[in-house]
């Protein structure tokens, strides 16, 4: 079982009204050093796969077809081992 941690952001150059508004709010709080804020999405997908490469291939296809819109968004993936629902807790002392 693997866990895919997926970050979806608007592509550079695509105006992000939420990010711009958050930046203005930070400036209003006197964080004058803030130059830019971009707001994105974070998803976690738990899936069965034989190895991390297989999990990555599957999740990349999911991103391309549904999870991200390639017209305006780009995504980053991290694949980590995970425990499936109902699987026993790993026993620390064996």
């Amino acid at each position: 079982m693997y866990l895919a941690k997926i970050e979806i952001m608007l592509k550079p150059g695509v105006l992000d009204p939420q990010g711009a508004t958050v930046r203005e709010a930070l400036h209003a709080l006197n964080y004058s050093s803030v130059e830019e804020v971009r707001v994105g999405k974070y998803l976690e997908v738990k899936l069965a796969a034989n190895d991390p490469a297989e999990a990555r291939r599957a999740v990349e296809e999911m991103c391309a077809r549904l999870l991200a819109n390639p017209v305006i968004e780009e995504y980053r993936l991290e694949i980590v081992p995970a425990r499936g629902t109902g699987e026993a807790e790993p026993c620390a002392l064996g």
């Binding site: 695509v14 105006l15 009204p17 508004t21 549904l66 819109n69 017209v71 305006i72």
Partner: protein
């Protein structure tokens, strides 16, 4: 002449579209549930406004995988008229039947108000009774109507006459103030290169009767009926 109104879970303008087609235009119209896989005998399919699948993930992103969308796509590729209004427009974008994508409005707010739009292309099946440059008053009600596409796509849209409606002021002038949602190039509605697939953010079904105080939307519906009659 037979119209179909596609009903997705979360559509909420389907009854308005049905009413206008049946009661105001007097044409045959049926609802089509999104789970249908076969579409037969239709001249025009309407994807109505609403919040299909709760707008989860992105507007239209899940509805575009509804079973009926394969048949809608085949119908569009065969030259059938496909009209997407508001959420219906967003679904057509996600389905790739129209180019581009919607961003959140520049104000970050859900905007529900009347706006002015200018008819940029009066040669489409949806605008054939309008004058080029004619200004219409139509209501909008959306949070994600801030149209975006890359520069190459925008150039192709402009060159192909695919920009059908632009937000403007009452006199038909384009300005930042008259662009309610920040849409690229003031775009309110676009069509595909063939002109048979059309998406727009305003709601022509909400302003097609005198009793509602505005009949400007009727022109678009009458255009479709006129175009289909001329064709047959």
């Amino acid at each position: 002449m037979r119209f179909g109104v596609i009903v997705f879970p979360g559509s909420n303008c389907d009854a308005d579209v049905y009413h206008v087609l049946e009661q105001v235009l007097g044409v045959e119209v049926v609802y089509v549930w999104h789970g249908e896989t076969k579409l037969g005998g239709f001249d025009c399919l309407v994807l109505p406004g609403g919040f299909s699948y709760g707008d989860y993930l992105r507007t239209g992103a899940i509805a575009r995988f509804s079973p009926v969308m394969q048949a809608v796509t085949a119908f569009a590729h065969a030259g059938g008229l496909v009209l997407g209004i508001c959420n219906g427009f967003q679904i057509l974008l996600e389905a790739g039947l129209l180019p581009g994508a919607m961003r959140v409005n520049k104000t970050l707010q859900f905007i529900c108000q009347d706006v002015w739009v200018r008819v940029e292309n009066a040669a489409t099946p949806y605008t054939c009774l309008a004058r080029p440059g004619q200004v219409l008053r139509l209501p909008i009600a959306h949070k994600e109507g801030n149209y975006y596409c890359d520069p190459a796509t925008l150039a192709a849209l402009a060159a192909g006459g695919q920009i059908v409606l632009r937000y403007c002021d009452a006199s038909g002038n384009l300005s930042e103030e008259a662009n309610p949602n920040g849409s690229l190039e003031h775009i309110a509605g676009i069509c595909n290169p063939e002109g048979n697939v059309f998406g727009l953010m305003p709601h022509p079904e909400r302003c097609a009767e005198e009793i509602l105080g505005n009949r400007d939307g009727l022109l678009l519906w009458q255009s479709i009926v006129h175009w289909l009659k001329e064709k047959s």
